[in-house]
Amino acid sequence: MAKILKLMDINKVYGDKIKTQVLFDINLDFEESTFNSIIGESGSGKSTLMNIMGTLDRATSGDVEINGINISNMNKNELAVLRNEFIGFIFQFHYLLPEFTVMENILIPYRIKNKNITKEAISRAEELMEIVGISKVKNNKATDISGGQQQRTAIARALINEPKIVLGDEPTGNLDSSTTEIVYDLLRDINQRYKTTFIIITHDKRVAEKADRIIEIKDGRIEMDISRKI
């Protein structure tokens, strides 16, 4: 299967005067339409790794290849376009725009990409809302729905531009355990349905065990990398 994301000899050092290295020679690649989880203690460097994979941060050295394209020489605007078209983000907090409705929030990545909202875009948004189960609240303001619904809205938003990769940084970290279960089942479902590659950071072992592959990061190095047969 094709490699959708490749990390080659990634090092990350923070600070100018006092240097703190958080990632050491990370080499990782992810296959298309797999469901991956990254675990590790806080401070292990997993969020930094996630930010580098998501092009939000740059590695101090090493290369990142997304969909076969090396992003090292891309400028900020090119990276923004790449993120918009290839990558969906789900964070621990939903970061929905409180001024907009659920529907409008979902369409924002689409509007960043396209001038006008087409009928197809609306029907895709409706399909996604159906899948994540928030059709009933589509015209509510983002602040007028429950926490679980907000995170589902964030998931639908991450998927509106049909990204190849969805990166999740503790996407259920803020939800109770039963909702966590439902949201993960939902992500798995989307992974199978749209063949989207998922890379999810979590500290919840139960959640991680459901993934096709578990990568453990410890002190900036890969401690463990196990794949299940699909």
Binding site: G54, A80, N84, F89, Y95, L97, E99, D169
Partner: protein
Amino acid sequence: MRLAFSIAYRFLKSNKGQTDLILIGIIIGVSVQIFIGSLIDGLQISLVDKTIGNASQITIVPAGKDKYFLEDRALLDTLKTNDNLTAVSESYDNSAFININGDTYPILLRGLEFEDANMIYEFSDKLIEGNIPQLQNETLIGATLATDNNLKIGDEIEILTPEGVNQRLKISGIFDLKVSNLNKTWIVMPIEGARAIFVNDNQLTSIEMQVSDVFKADTIAEEIKNNLNNSSVDVVNWKEENEELLSGLSGQSASSIMIQVFVLLAVLLGISSVLAISVVQKSKQLGILKAMGIKDNQASFIFLFQGLILGTVGAILGSIFGVLLTYIFSIFVKSPDGTSLVPFYLDYKFIGMSALIAIVASMIAALIPARNTSKLNPIEVIKNG
């Protein structure tokens, strides 16, 4: 771009308190600017009008030490068809004495075509008694001269010229030009009569003119002079004769501009600081927008559009309030005689400029928050969240 605009609009709408605060700031700024500007403009116009409204603004006078120049009908006709001029009046003036019961007083005998002179001096409106002279030996005298010497309509006065001519004139009317010196010394009569007294046919002492735009009097005078091609005459205008008034006016304008600039500066700082706070408040949303692929300059436009929207709404409302304020002031603040102290005067160009400047200033004020937005790094805010 449209997304940036709609986000800007929603940000403003959702944060009503803050938006209203900025708007009130801009409205007060713009309305004060327009009020002060219009007030000063109105004051200046009324001052200029009072000073030179009933006086010659451009005058053709004899060149050098000459006292007279030859009447030129063709010149008069071209002047009368000049669109820049609102009044053209020829006059024959000479100093003389008036003899009242054995006492003589120096006077200025002014020979005028009343029809033309009325356009400048408005004798018809300023007559407090009697009529405009119809005959060559009739005259108008000033109110001060009349009361001082107990003269009435129909009385005869005796004019003595330096050349020794003695002429009796009949008073047909009494004027009040609101300037005591003129009311005391001017004897105004038909031009032919005046010429007859001094035996000076076809001579003029001046051609007096008024212009539509008084502040252009100097350039119009220059034009007339260039077209005249006549070395026996000279063209003077009110500006060169009223330098003190002009410097007073420009001082007033300068202080008015200073006030306006500082009001604008205060508004600018206000908008800038409130929007800068708004960037901090919205940093999480801006961070996620950037993660989702909004470009740095698009994100900046969110705040530039906020500046534009605030500036436009503020400028429109501010203009309305400013005009209203000026109007109310002109209605309620009156001088003792019932006329408004400062006439209601609107310069649409000035109002338009003020509004435009306010909009531009609002956008400039939005530049700093826009720059901060552009610099905002999504991982900073997402990490902190």
